[in-house]
Amino acid sequence: MELLGLYHYWVFAVLLMIGFYAVISKSNLIKKLIGLSIFQAAVFLLYITMGKVAGGTAPIIQAGVENAVFSNPLPQVLILTAIVVGISTMALGLGIVVRIKEEYGSIEERDIQEIDRR
């Protein structure tokens, strides 16, 4: 159990940094947004991992079941809404990328900077 928990946290760290790598090193704006969504998913994973209680179950109360152990509902609520807000902001980002493509004719950061310098 101990090692599984640590493995969850390590995967969180690795995913976070894979996403971050895409954001800082890729030139393509869509690729950067995909990287950002991996970054975001890693944070979600961390929250949900921390809410888990050993031997627990999903926090839905069942009639007639006494002394059930429930996992923490609070991180789940936060992340549930964060996912929906995440897709909305991601769509806004995609909209901006589409507008950039329309004005500059490219979605590569390198091209855009070059056009701006002219």
């Binding site: 159990m1 101990e2 599984l4 640590l6 493995y7 969850h8 946290y9 390590w10 995967v11 969180f12 760290a13 690795v14 940094m17 894979i18 971050f20 800082i24 090193s25 030139s27 690729k31 995909i34 990287g35 969504s37 991996i38 998913a41 979600f44 994973l45 949900i48 991992t49 921390m50 809410g51 888990k52 209680v53 050993a54 627990g56 999903a58 926090p59 839905i60 109360i61 429930f70 996992s71 923490n72 509902p73 609070l74 991180p75 789940q76 609520v77 936060l78 549930l80 809404t81 996912i83 909305s88 991601m90 769509a91 806004l92 995609l94 909209g95 589409v98 507008r99 004005e103 004719g105």
Partner: protein
């Protein structure tokens, strides 16, 4: 057994993420990120977060993939440059250093699943105990979302609404003409692609038959998730995404124009604002009945019945706004001409 499955899913997720970053073909990256979301949803389910798993599956694997593909048709699918080797080395250095630091920090974290950790001590037990007595609905997540933290959720609904408005504003601008004139051949290819796109998959038999069969059931499931959210995993956010997915499927099968004839854009805009207004109105009604903002207990003679009414109505508001925003965003991308 669960442990092995958990490790397996996590490992697959890392592999998928690496493949997403590595591939130069954006179409592949988008499809892989749909798979990534599905793996993430399965993993959430293992971690007892049924509601979150449902949301991630509906939104991450479903809607998000569609929106990314919609954007790709407008921007092109190939990544043109590889990052330079200096850039890559520096980025890898930074990333490796931070990874090692975070991994070092994880050794100080409380043990996984330990019920004595600070996270589990604060308000969570109170939420679980109070839900049974004061609100009396089985799903604690819905109770916390809609009642205890109703303010938060109202705020989130307004953020979603704002993003929808932002998209409509962004796409209301007509692009300035590009300096480089397009060759005739290019524009011809584009115009034929457009005609095909406008018609959807109307001339393809198998998607037509399968899709038509599926749409009513997806809608029914969406309504079930909406109104059964108090008792099982579900609620307005998930239902909104599922219903939007059904109508997006219709748009893909029958074409943009027909989908917009079924639900016109002014209805969608009305839904975006209407859901948020419905939610706020519940709060105002509570105040008129001498309660606090969003204190549902005053809505009926019996406080528990009041809570039930309040939660059902605000969940409906959330569902309406989310459906409206997601569909507006989809139509904004799909109806945009390629410039």
């Amino acid at each position: 057994m669960t442990i092995i499955f958990g490790v397996f899913l996590l490992t697959l997720m890392v592999i998928t993420a690496l493949a997403i970053v590595h591939t130069q073909h954006l179409f592949v990256a988008v499809i892989l990120s749909g798979i990534f979301s599905l793996l993430m949803a399965a993993n959430f389910f293992l971690l007892d977060a049924a509601d979150v798993a449902l949301t991630e599956a509906a939104i991450g694997a479903g809607i998000s993939t569609v929106l990314f593909l919609g954007a790709l048709t407008l921007t092109g699918e190939a990544e043109r440059y590889r990052s330079s080797s200096v850039n890559r080395v520096v980025a890898l250095g930074v990333v490796a250093a931070i990874t090692l630091m975070v991994i070092y920090a994880t050794f100080d974290k409380p043990a996984f699943g330990d019920p004595q950790t600070p996270v589990q001590q604060h308000v969570a037990p109170w939420y679980i105990d109070t839900t049974a007595n004061d609100i009396d609905i089985p799903n604690v997540v819905t109770a916390v979302l809609a009642s205890f933290r109703g303010y938060d959720t109202l705020g989130e609904v307004f953020v979603v609404l704002t993003a929808g408005i932002g998209i409509l504003f962004l796409f209301s601008a007509t692009p300035t003409r590009r300096k480089k004139p397009q060759t005739e051949q290019e524009s011809e290819v584009e115009s034929t692609a457009e005609i095909k796109f406008g018609e959807g998959l109307r001339h393809f038999l198998i998607p037509q038959v399968v899709g038509r069969l599926l749409i009513p059931f997806i809608l029914l499931f969406g309504l079930y998730v909406q109104f059964h959210g108090d008792y099982g995993p579900g609620g307005g956010f998930q239902a909104g995404a599922i219903i939007a997915a059904a109508i997006i499927l219709y748009a893909l099968l029958e074409g943009e124009a027909r989908a917009l004839r079924v639900i016109p854009q002014w209805v969608l805009t009305g839904m975006m604002a209407g859901g948020a207004i419905l939610y706020s109105a519940v709060g105002v009604v509570c105040m008129m009945l001498d309660g606090n903002f969003l204190e549902y207990s005053v809505l009926a003679a019996d406080p528990i019945t009041g809570q039930h009414i309040g939660i059902i109505v605000i969940e409906a508001g959330v569902g309406i706004t989310v459906t409206g925003v997601l569909l507006s965003i989809f139509h904004a991308f799909a109806g945009r001409r390629r410039f």
